[in-house]
């Protein structure tokens, strides 16, 4: 059954492999997936370890529900100390890898050490081999996966791989599986590259015994109905995640020209409907596909319609690619978005980070902070599509002074570029912000400022705050499973009650990451999607483990706190612009200039923002400096960490 999936400890330096069970006590405290990964990282990483050194443990996992009869349990989580931020490294991706890992007998892999030469791991039915990967080195992400399948003579092998960006130690390189499933953010692909680990291949045929199969199937029908009947998922199934970018751009929540504007005007060619037309023209009417056990099918398939890469097949683009290759660099061509998306997938690099960092460089170039000599003659103006795509190549191959400099990430690059370049870098904790502009939405600003892995929308964003829901609906949602009778506001430009919403969402997202479920199957973009009250049934029917909604909340809170403990141990301080819970000064100083009339003029009020952080810390049980109070650690059972239970 799901509970008998194991942890494997693999030392790439010595070649030693140990396989252990996961004690029930640990399951009850952390469930699995990201929560248990955070526990493992805190326990197995030494304070201050070099993110690119052998002591940085790389942890790969599925959730407790992965490959059971539950829906959308496709998510793979990857964790290590981040080479981009020096803090928590964490990424999460869909596809088919995690279920295969579970069928091979494992839920967690902890990979330490450093191989002398390129290797890959082959995990199959309870066994793990370290295999030579010298022939794979230099291959793109797609080529690598097919080469492994050929070598193992099995087309059903699923691999998690790095591309040239990871090999070249680009600090924001991705781990990839399939065509476009990306363990992006925080540079986990760079950690694989530093270990000379090209890939992890898995193949499994071990059954997962379901605790109550009839009830699990019956309940899953109800769960699927909940998923597929939601308007947001019906929209995702039609247009994919680009619809989010389109809607956000409509009211003025998309950062443009790095951070000079908050809307990409006349963006018709990169709107989701246009991208959908291209997918239909190049693939056909059935161009939407999905991950393992998912009914939403939010992923488009397409071929690049024109230009030097015309005819190349790819998947997506996600809304992050619209931000990276349209909004931020002020480009308005579908061809550029689809080509950029293809390049980042093949190189294995974070589209969000690379788009942000190039747009930052564009602003520096236009301001004269970066010279033409430093760009090696490249005219790095906003709106120059060719320069944008050329910079993708240069960063991923570390070509030229600027390509090599930007490949190290924004904060180190700002130190190398000098002058006041850092003032223009839109980042939190060393990781570039999403393509969204949060100046009109205080809750979203708080979310990115306090997110454990650096600026991020998938750790605590209360996206439903944008829907103008009646306060009684908000209260129904946000007062369960923990009673809450404090303020809540349905006005998304308000500061009232937003700290609680962010805290609630932080726990909601940690919970789904422990279960191994996609965030589009929980209360992220739709109010009627499953959350704490729904999950005990899924867990019980599939695994036999009994949890109350409150107990799942406690697990999530514990997971978030151990991530914070890790960050504090690595130097997080509240007001540090490079390692803290705060925002670039432009959020407070420069008003929005585009979008809906009531968005124009909005910026974040510094005093109110500080008060929101105070409130958020109170909800989390932190002191005003952001350190956990002793009673909080006691309440969460974390007073003896690191406890080395596994």
């Amino acid at each position: 059954m799901a509970l008998n999936r194991k942890i494997a400890y693999i030392d790439l330096t010595s070649g030693k492999i140990e396989i252990k069970s996961i004690p029930l006590e640990v399951r009850r405290k952390f469930i699995g997936g990201r929560g248990l990964d955070a526990y493992l990282l805190y326990n197995h990483a030494k304070k201050g370890c070099d993110p690119l050194g052998p002591d940085n443990p790389l942890i790969i996992s599925g959730g407790i529900l992965t490959a059971t009869l539950a829906s959308a349990t496709a998510r793979t989580h990857i964790m290590a100390k981040s080479p981009l931020t020096g803090l928590l490294g964490s990424s999460n991706m869909g596809g088919f890898f995690a279920p295969e890992l579970a069928w091979a007998g494992f839920h967690h892999l902890v990979i330490r050490g450093q191989a002398e030469k390129p290797v890959y791991l082959f995990v199959h039915d309870g066994e793990i081999e370290i295999r030579d990967a010298q022939d794979l080195w230099g291959q793109t992400t797609t080529e690598t996966q097919w080469s492994i399948r050929e070598e193992l003579a099995d087309e059903e092998v699923k691999s998690l791989v790095i591309g040239p960006a990871g090999e070249n130690l680009v600090r924001f390189a991705n781990v990839m599986t399939g065509i476009k499933n990306s363990g992006g953010r925080t540079g986990m692909g760079c950690v694989l590259g530093s270990k000379n680990l090209k890939a992890v291949a898995v193949r499994g045929s071990q059954d997962i015994q379901i605790a109550h199969p009839v009830e699990a199937l019956e309940y899953n029908k109800r769960f699927i109905d909940q998923i597929t009947s939601s308007k947001v998922n019906q929209t995702q199934g039609a247009l994919g995640t680009p619809f989010i970018w389109g809607a956000t751009n409509s009211w003025g929540g998309i950062r443009t020209r790095n951070f000079q504007y908050n809307q990409l005007e006349y963006a018709d060619d990169v709107e989701p409907e246009r991208i959908d037309e291209i997918a239909e023209e190049t693939i056909g009417p059935y161009h939407m596909t999905g991950c393992f056990a998912c009914q939403v099918h939010c992923r488009a398939q397409y071929k690049i319609p024109s230009g030097p890469y015309a005819g190349k097949y790819d998947e997506g683009p996600e809304y992050t690619s619209q931000g990276a290759f349209a909004g931020e660099p002020d480009c308005k061509s579908a061809e550029t978005v689809l080509t950029g998306n293809h390049l980042v997938n093949q190189y294995g690099v974070d589209n969000l980070e690379i788009g942000s960092i190039i747009s930052w460089a564009m602003e520096l170039y236009e301001l004269g902070i970066l010279t033409r000599e430093q760009t090696d003659g490249l005219d790095l103006r906003f709106g120059n599509d060719q320069a944008l795509l050329e910079m993708v190549h240069r960063i991923c191959t570390r070509k030229g002074w600027l390509g090599d400099t930007l490949a190290d990430g924004g904060v180190p690059a700002s130190e190398k570029i000098g002058k006041n370049s850092f003032d223009y870098l839109i980042q939190v904790k060393g990781m570039s912000n999403l393509h969204s502009d949060e100046r009109a939405t205080p809750a979203l600003a708080l979310n990115i400022a306090t997110s454990s892995r650096g600026s991020d929308h998938l750790r605590s964003r209360p996206a439903i705050d944008l829907y103008h829901l009646p306060e009684k609906v908000l209260r129904k949602i946000y007062s369960s499973p923990v009673a809450y009778d404090g303020p809540l506001s349905s006005e998304h430009t308000s500061y009232q009650g937003k700290a609680w919403q962010v805290f609630w969402q932080e726990n909601c997202y940690m919970a789904v990451d422990c279960l191994g479920i996609c965030k589009y199957h929980t209360l992220f973009l739709g109010t009627t999607l499953p959350n704490f009250e729904d999950w005990p049934k899924v867990i019980y029917y599939n695994t036999g483990l009994e949890f109350t909604p409150r107990e799942i909340w406690d697990v999530a809170e514990r997971g978030n706190m151990i991530e914070r403990l890790f960050n504090l141990r690595e130097g997080l301080t509240r007001d540090d612009l490079k390692k803290g819970d705060t925002l670039n000064h432009r959020y407070f100083d420069e008003p929005c200039r585009r979008g809906a009339p009531d968005v124009v003029g909005r910026k974040i009020d510094r005093d109110k923002f500080t008060k929101m952080i105070d409130e958020f810390y109170q909800h989390k049980g932190l002191d005003p400096k952001g350190d956990p109070k002793p009673e909080t650690l006691l309440r969460l059972g974390l007073e003896n960490e690191p406890s080395h239970l596994v």
Binding site: A247, N249, W251, E265, L523, N531, P536, A596, P597
Partner: protein
């Protein structure tokens, strides 16, 4: 059995509040409900004057594709001018 299978969760219960055929104006302090005619391609908010292009996911399911750019720019410029005058 430790779970009550019959009881609806909060999320399930909220399904009764769902509406089709309408969307909200994207102007934050307006957020008025707009209901375009069947397959109408453009709609104007009677409250704040914003105009939107409409995309139909299904014949009963419209969404805002984006603003009408000329109107959007004009309203934004006017709003910014007002702020500068203050």
């Amino acid at each position: 059995m430790p779970v009550d299978d019959k009881k609806q969760s909060t999320a399930e219960d909220l399904r009764k509040t769902r509406t089709y055929g309408k969307f909200r104006c994207h102007n934050p302090s307006c957020m008025g409900r707009l209901q375009p005619e069947a397959l109408q391609q453009q709609v104007k908010c009677p409250e704040c004057g914003m105009e939107f292009r409409v995309h139909w996911i299904r014949p009963d399911f419209p969404r805002i594709r984006g603003p009408v750019w000329e109107v959007n720019r004009k309203l934004a410029d006017e709003a910014f001018l007002k702020l500068e005058e203050k």
